[in-house]
Subunit: 533 residues, 2 copies
C-alpha cells in the first residue's frame, strides 16, 4: 500500500488556506503580547491576520525590546514606562544563570539556595507587578479607554504569560483568544483542563507521563508548589487590579478560565498525551516552514564540510553568554571533530576555538536546519528551536539552562531524538562523546524522522489552524459552546465531595439501621429464649 | 466586517478532500460494525474509504438485517448464526415500548418496575452474549483466523457498541479506530477521558451540564449504576472470551481504552462541553450533506402547502409502531393545522387522519429537511435525524421513546431549538399547542440557525476528518503519541490516593512532633516553675 504522505496534505492545506484568505475581509484585533521569544510567535500570527485583511492593534510599552512601535502589519498603542525592569539590558538572565550554575555545581548551603529561590520569586513578582502597572496606566487613561471602546474590536488576542489583557477583554466585552503555552505560574492546560497529577507532569517536576511512586510524590509537590506560587506571588497583583477597576464579584482566575479559544503551542509528537478541552486548539510548530537557500558564503562553508556535515549550535535569544570555562570546553570539543560547526555566540571567542568552527552573531536557523548537510543541533531546548528541529528532522544535543528547557529536552530524550548534557558537569570529553553518539547512532535521526513525519501529517498547517480559530471567534462572537463553565463551581462541588458526603451519610445510616435491627432482633430472641428456658 | 461564512470553507474543504482522494492508494480495512441505525453511519465511512481506494472487509452475521452480504463497497465475512436474537423480526422494541408506556402511565408497582428493569438488563446481557458467540465462532474457525492473519489488514475499524472487535485487533496486532458514541453500557467518553460527574451528564441521568445539588446526586447515582451494569452485566461476557482466547494478563477494558483513534459522533453544538483526549476526533454530523431535489409527486405535495409550509414526522427505524391511541391523538392534532404533514408511519393509518396529512412508508428525510417549505420536524430524537435537522436549520418537536433519545431532546431544549412532548401524557390538545409554539415562535428557528452556522463553521467536513484520521492510523501504524496509557495505573494511583496518603502521613507526623515538642516544653517549664516556687 502507498498511503498519502503527510507533507502533500500540508501543501494541499496551504492551497486551501490561500483560497480561504481570498474570501476574508477585515476584522479588528486587539493584541496583548509578551515580549522576548514569545513575541516571535505572536508576530507570526499577527502577520497572518494582517495578510488575511484584518486590522491589528498591538499594546506595547515604551521600553519594549522586541515589539517595535512601527510595523507594516499592525498599529501600536504605546504605554509609557520609565522605570521598566528591562530584563535584557540588565543582562538579568546571564547573572541568573551564573548564580544557578554556582549553586548547582558547588552544592551550595540550604541558606544560599533559599536566598536564590527567594530572589527568583521576587523577580517573578516584579515582572507581574510591572504588567499590572501597565494595565493600571491604561485604566487611568480615560481617553485611551474611550478610544478602545470606540474602536469596536472583534476579539482580544493575547499571550496569557502576562495575563492583564483579560481585564480589558472583560471591560470591553470582547471574546478572547489565547496564544499560549505558559500561564501565570504553570503550563496552560492546568488552568482549564483536568490534569491528573498521576500522569500529567507539572512544570518544574522534570518527570515523564510514566512515573514511579516517588516521582508521583515529586510531581504532586511541584503541583502544590505551583498553586502556592500562583496564589501567593502572582495572582494578588491581578486581584488588586480586578477589585479596583472591574465590577464587584469579578474573579481574576475565572476571567482566565473563560477564554474562548486556547491556541496551545503544543504538538503531541513532542508533549505527552494528556486530557484537553474542546476549546483548546493545538498549534505546536505553527512557525515551521520550508527552508530557503542560504547566503553564498554560508552555503560555501556548509558545503566545505564534505561527507561529515555540519553541526549547528545556538542557545537562543535570552542568554547572551555562558561562563568562559564552559564555552572553552565546548569549543575544545568541537575542535576535535571532523564536522564543520556554526555557532551562534554573542560574546567573546573562546580561546580553544578550532578552525572548523565559525562563530556568528545571528544565523538563518530555519534555513540551516533544513539544509541536508546539517547533522545535529546543539540547542538550549526552547520550544521554537525544538519544533524547527523536529520539522527538519535534525537530532538535538541539549544544553538546557533555564525554565522549561530541562523538561523540553527530557521530552525529546524519552523519544530517543535528543541527548541532554548537564551544563554544570560539562567537559570537552563528555561533550564530544555526546556529540559523537548523536552524530553516529542512526536511531536519533530515525526517531526525529518519525516525529517529523507524524508532526507534518495533519489536515491543515498549524498556522492556518490558528488563524481559522481566531477568525472563528471573530465571526461567531466567541466560542461559548466549546467552553465549559464548570470552573464556576465551588471546588468541593467540582470534585463531587459534597455528593460523596451525602452518599456516605446515607450508607452509614443504612448500616447503622441494619446493625441496630440485628441487635434488636438478637435481643428479642435471647429474651424469648431466656423466657422459654 | 464581513468574515468568511462557514459554508464556503466547507465547500473548500470538500475540494481539498477531492484533491486528497486522488493521491491515496489502497490500504486494507477490517470492519466490525453494529447492526441497525449504527450501520447507517458505518456504511458512510466505508463508502468514503472505498472511494479513496481502500479495500474494506466487513464482518457480519448470517442474520444481519441492515448489513448486506453483497455490496459494491466492501467484501463481507459472514458468520453463521441460526439462533440469533433478531430484534427487528421479533418486534422487540415495539413490545418494549408498549410495556414502558404502561409502566410510566399507570404508575406501576415497584415489583412491576423491578421486573421490567430486570428484563431490560437480561436483554442487554443477551445482546452482548450473542456478540461474544459470534466472536467465539470466529476464534474457533482456524481457517478463518488464518485468512484474517494472511490478509494483512492495516487497521480495524469498529463500532464499540458491541466491542468484540478489539479482541481481534489485539490478536492480529492491528491498530484500532472506533466509530463511536456509545460503548458497552455508557457514553464513549467515560471510558477514555476524565469525566467529572459534577458537570458531565452520565447516560440515563437526564441532566444538563449545569446541575443543582440533587441533580448532581442523581448524576452520581447513574454513574455508579452504569459502572455496576458494565461490571456485572456486560464485561463478564468479554472477560470470559479474553481469558479463553488471548494470552494471560490481557485485560478487556484496557483493550477498549487502548484504541488509537476515537471518531466520536458528537459535535459540541449539540453536546455539552466536556474534557476530551488528544486521540478523540469529533465527527458529529458527518452524514450531513446538501439536499437533492424531491421526486415530482412529493415536490407537488410540499408546494401545495403554500405559505403555511410542511411538518415532517418520523420516529426512526427502530420503532415500527406506537400504540393506536397515541397515533390517533397525533393524527387529530395534525388535522387541526393549516400546514401539510408528511408522516413516516409503517403501521395502520390512524382513524383520525386529516386531509392535510400524507402517510409514507419511507421518505427522503435529508432532502425534505433541506426543503425551504419544511417548517418543523417531529422526531424521536435519534442522533442521525437531529444532526440532519441542525444542518438544515429545522426546529424539532421531540417525542423521545427509548435510550438516549430523552437526553438528545433535552440538549436541544436547553439551546431553545426544540420542544419535547411526554409520550405518556400526549393528547391532541397539548400536541397541537407544542407544534404551534415551535412553528410560530421564531426563537426556535433562530436558535437552530445559530447552531447550524456554528456546526458548519469548520475547516473540514466531519466526514473528511473521519477519513483523514482513519488513513492517519493506516499510514502511521497507530497513533500511540496521541493516546495516554494512564489507564494501566491502578485506580488508587490514577487518582493519586497513595501519594495523598503519604503526604497526610508526613503531615500528621510533623503535627505530632510539634504537639509533642510543645507538650514537652510546657512540661519542662512547669517543672522549673514548680522548683522555683
Amino acid at each position: 500500500m502507498g498511503l498519502l504522505p503527510g507533507f502533500s496534505s500540508v501543501v494541499l492545506a496551504m492551497a486551501l488556506a490561500l483560497l480561504n484568505a481570498a474570501s476574508v475581509h477585515g476584522g479588528k484585533v486587539l493584541v496583548f503580547p509578551v515580549d522576548g521569544s514569545h513575541w516571535i510567535n505572536m508576530n507570526l500570527l499577527i502577520e497572518g491576520l494582517h495578510t488575511r485583511g484584518h486590522e491589528v492593534t498591538v499594546v506595547r510599552t515604551s521600553t519594549s525590546w522586541y515589539i517595535k512601535e512601527q510595523s507594516p502589519h499592525y498599529h501600536s498603542i504605546t504605554i509609557p514606562l520609565s522605570e521598566a525592569m528591562n530584563l535584557e539590558k540588565q543582562d538579568f538572565f546571564v547573572q541568573f544563570l551564573a548564580k544557578m550554575l554556582v549553586l548547582q555545581k558547588e552544592g551550595a548551603s540550604v541558606m544560599a539556595f533559599v536566598s536564590f529561590y527567594r530572589q527568583m520569586l521576587t523577580t517573578l513578582s516584579n515582572i507581574h507587578h510591572q504588567a499590572c502597572q501597565v494595565a493600571e496606566k491604561m485604566f487611568k487613561d480615560k481617553a485611551l479607554m474611550q478610544s478602545l471602546r470606540d474602536a469596536q474590536y472583534d476579539v482580544v488576542l493575547m499571550d496569557p504569560g502576562l495575563p492583564f489583557g483579560v481585564l480589558f477583554a472583560h471591560e470591553l466585552k470582547l471574546p478572547t483568544v489565547f496564544n499560549v503555552r505558559w500561564i501565570t505560574s504553570g503550563e496552560g492546560h492546568f488552568v482549564v483542563a483536568p490534569s491528573p497529577v498521576s500522569y500529567v507532569p507539572t512544570s518544574g517536576s522534570a518527570v515523564t507521563d510514566k512515573m514511579t511512586f516517588l516521582q508521583r510524590v515529586r510531581n504532586m509537590f511541584h503541583f502544590l508548589l505551583n498553586i502556592a506560587i500562583d496564589n501567593l506571588v502572582v495572582s494578588p497583583h491581578y486581584n488588586r487590579l480586578v477589585e479596583k477597576y472591574l465590577e464587584p464579584g469579578t474573579n481574576f482566575y475565572q476571567l482566565l478560565q473563560g477564554a474562548d479559544i486556547w491556541l496551545m503551542r503544543v504538538d503531541f509528537v513532542f508533549e505527552f498525551p494528556r486530557p484537553t478541552m474542546p476549546n483548546i486548539v493545538y498549534v505546536g510548530g505553527f512557525q515551521c516552514k520550508p527552508s530557503k537557500p542560504l547566503p553564498a558564503d554560508l552555503e560555501d562553508f556548509v558545503q566545505s564540510s564534505g561527507e561529515h556535515g555540519v553541526i549547528l549550535m545556538s542557545l537562543g535569544s535570552l542568554v547572551k553568554g555562558l561562563p568562559v570555562e564552559i564555552t572553552n570546553q565546548i569549543a575544545a570539543a568541537f575542535a576535535q571533530l571532523p564536522q564543520k560547526v556554526i555557532w551562534r555566540l554573542p560574546g567573546e571567542p573562546p580561546s580553544t576555538l578550532g578552525n572548523n568552527t565559525m562563530l556568528v552573531k545571528w544565523m538563518p536557523q530555519n534555513d540551516l536546519l533544513g539544509h541536508p548537510k546539517v547533522k545535529a543541533f546543539v540547542a538550549h531546548g526552547g520550544t521554537n528551536g525544538i519544533y524547527e528541529a523536529i520539522y527538519h528532522m535534525v537530532p538535538i544535543v541539549g544544553i538546557p539552562l533555564l525554565f522549561d528547557q530541562f523538561e523540553n529536552i527530557l521530552r525529546l530524550e524519552v523519544r530517543g531524538a535528543a541527548k541532554g548534557v548537564d551544563v554544570t558537569k560539562l567537559t570537552s570529553q563528555n561533550f564530544v562523546e555526546t556529540l559523537q553518539e548523536v552524530l553516529h547512532n542512526p536511531s536519533y535521526r530515525d526517531n526525529m524522522k518519525r516525529m517529523s513525519d507524524l508532526h507534518r501529517d495533519k489536515p491543515m498547517h498549524p498556522l492556518d489552524t490558528a488563524l481559522f480559530w481566531t477568525e472563528f471567534v471573530m465571526r461567531n462572537k466567541g466560542a461559548a459552546h466549546l467552553r465549559t463553565e464548570s470552573y464556576k463551581l465551588p471546588w468541593y462541588s467540582y470534585h463531587s465531595l459534597d455528593v460523596m458526603c451525602l452518599l456516605l451519610a446515607v450508607l452509614s445510616l443504612l448500616a447503622a439501621l441494619v446493625v441496630l435491627s440485628v441487635y434488636f432482633l438478637c435481643f428479642k430472641l435471647c429474651r424469648r429464649k431466656d423466657k422459654l428456658e
